[in-house]
Amino acid sequence: MVACIDGHDLPQGVMWRRVAEYTGGKWVRRANGTYDQNVFSYYTSVSCNHCQNPVCVKVCPTTAMHKDEQGIVSVDPDKCVGCRYCEWNCPYSAPQYNKQSGRMTKCDFCKDRLAAGLKPLCVEACPMRAIHFGEYEDLKKQFGDAVHVAPLPEQSVTSPCLVITPPHNAQPVGSNMGSIRNPEEM
């Protein structure tokens, strides 16, 4: 998150990448003061999934939100009027409103960096090398078919170009076993 904020000079409150903590499980106290628990927790990092069926593009009244020939979904700031309708519709919170400019902004896949042969900032920054990028079909070949996990929505909504290697304690999409426990960090 921070590499992206730093590299793109984003003001406070605008986050092109967000990491959700999905946590669940309960504690049960025994009579003798000992405990049983089934707590689980994992993180999911999402920016914009440059969807195949981008609902943000569909609903944008000015055509500011668009998908280019590379497949990258981005906002044309000259056309955007800041109505925030894309923000309402995106199930991943990708479009982020910038109060200072009055426009929508979002992850643009660091397309300027890509053009210069560099990697996106988040990919370079991740200390665990958890983020990879490339053509969707290539990623599926490398990491397996796209299986999403809670707290992400059903893929059928927008057909996101996102491949996830599920963590060992993953919950399926739609699970009610846990919830997002760090809304203040997103």
Partner: protein, 629 residues
Amino acid sequence: MLGGHLDEYGTYSTAQISAAIPYLYGINAGNTINDMANSKLIVMFGCNILETRQSGGGLSYELFEARKKGNARIIMVDPRYSDSMAKLGDEWVPIRPGSDGALIAAIAYVLMNEGLVDQQFVDTHCLGFDEEHMPEGVPAGNSYRAYIMGEGPDKTVKTPQWAETITGYPAEKIIRLAREIGSTKPCCVIQGWGPQRHANGDTISRSIAMLAILTGNVGIAGGGSGSAESVSQIGFPRMPEGTNPVKTRISFYTWVNAIDDYTQVTAKKMGLRNKEKLDHGIKFLWNSSGNALINQHSDINGTRKILEDESKCECIVVVENRMTASAKFADILLPSVTPLEQDDIIQQGYQVDQSSLLIARKAIEPLFETRSQYDICAALSEKIGKLLGQSDLATKYTEGRSQLDWVKHLYAQARAKKPELPESFDEASKIGLFKWFPMPQKVAFKAFRDDPAANPLKTPSGKIEIFSKRLWDLNQAWELPEGDAIYAIPVHEKTWEGPCDYEGMKKHPFQLIGHHYKGRAHSSYANIPWLEQVAPQQLWMNEADAAQRGIRHDDMVKVFNDRGAVVVRVKVTPRIMPGVLSLPQGAWYTPDKNGVDQGGCINTLTKTHMTPLAKGNPQHTNLVDVVKI
């Protein structure tokens, strides 16, 4: 150069483990993280590598890769479900802070009862396991076995039933855990620096190592000593520090005592080394780039009273580039450069699979009147030289070199070690970062394991001293406060404000720890809004405890005890044990006009009470209460 200085031993990071483990093994060492690729089972005590050893070349990635290679099952013992647990843990064993000694004693009981102790290893490599293998001059009933089986002075058998009330972890789960540890080899038992930073850290650190010893996993690939990990690195030369003719050393933690009442800082009472007592107290403090003055040291309210008394410490100089809490206590505050405004040469940090050297050139010239530490000291050496009539003092200090000259000099010395480095410093500067990998997997005490007679340990007996006669003697020789003791064997040590302080819990029912937070490095970067945004300072509180008090996630709460009060936002979560709170350490102390800390600094609540052996910091041992405000 001016005659020497009072030196120190120990650090806030590792006081207890560094002091205690050498009584077991002669030195403190562990296997390297990359060796975990050889483990079948890894049991981590308070070892949160993914949050405390990040960075691209850091141990977090190392651990991840080792686990991918070896596929070990990972069990994490921690009152908190850390990010390491989230990512890598297969099973969470939550126990009350400070109760590791009890858990391990019960595991030892099961191992002994069920024939899972590596008896051959213990008989040939260890001293003090049972009555038959004890040193001279110790009365019967003081062996480790006697302690576990209730045949010692406390007449208490360390059964899982005994341990479950202390730890909060059910007896039958302790039994299963013991069986798994006892029958899976190689098993790597490892600890972080959290368990030892307790009032009973002197014994906890040794207790954890006992699991590796009892199961014979010491000195084998995929096993470990049970202490913290070692790192293998190429050691490059550093700036010379001169020779200090003064051999007197105080425990790092007792600098406040040396200011407050130096007559108490004696060898017998406070572990003064190489001298019986101090001749005078500390009258002048020079604090460089550190926030331990006020913020990172215990009991801020108590400590600040001592520092504010100008009859005690007469002058405090602080060198800083941010207005930290410590900077606010300066009589003289010297503005220092940031890393971006100075040339430097940096060796690797906590990396295992690679070693590195970084030539860090300044990005800009120092702003305003800031100067680097080196430039400050060089200028001082000239002024002091004039005052003392030693006109060559400055030259003696600088050796005629500027800071950049020193970087070039140290680079040349590094080249002597690694001739493949470019001859031209300018070329090296352009490249900047040099890496060597992979570094070898290292197994601590392998030679000793393979042949204990030929390769004795640096202990008096040459063996692993489960019972240490030196500690037995120390307990008699030193003067310790009421309730404190030094234990010759790794026991469950009961202390003030620990998990067995039921009296204290009547007034302050919660145990408070201060985990090290991924959002900053101790207190560095706590003031960066971008980091605060994604990792805000929050008190971790269990859901059931919060519900009981009408506290909801993101509420403002006051957490307090007799030493102080802190106001902070709360994270209500199942990721921490009931009865336990965690206030991540390193937040900036920000008292309001009533002295209530608005910054969320845990040391507003911690106690100044040095541990018996290491004379170290017990900063995770606290009892508090919490209310919604």
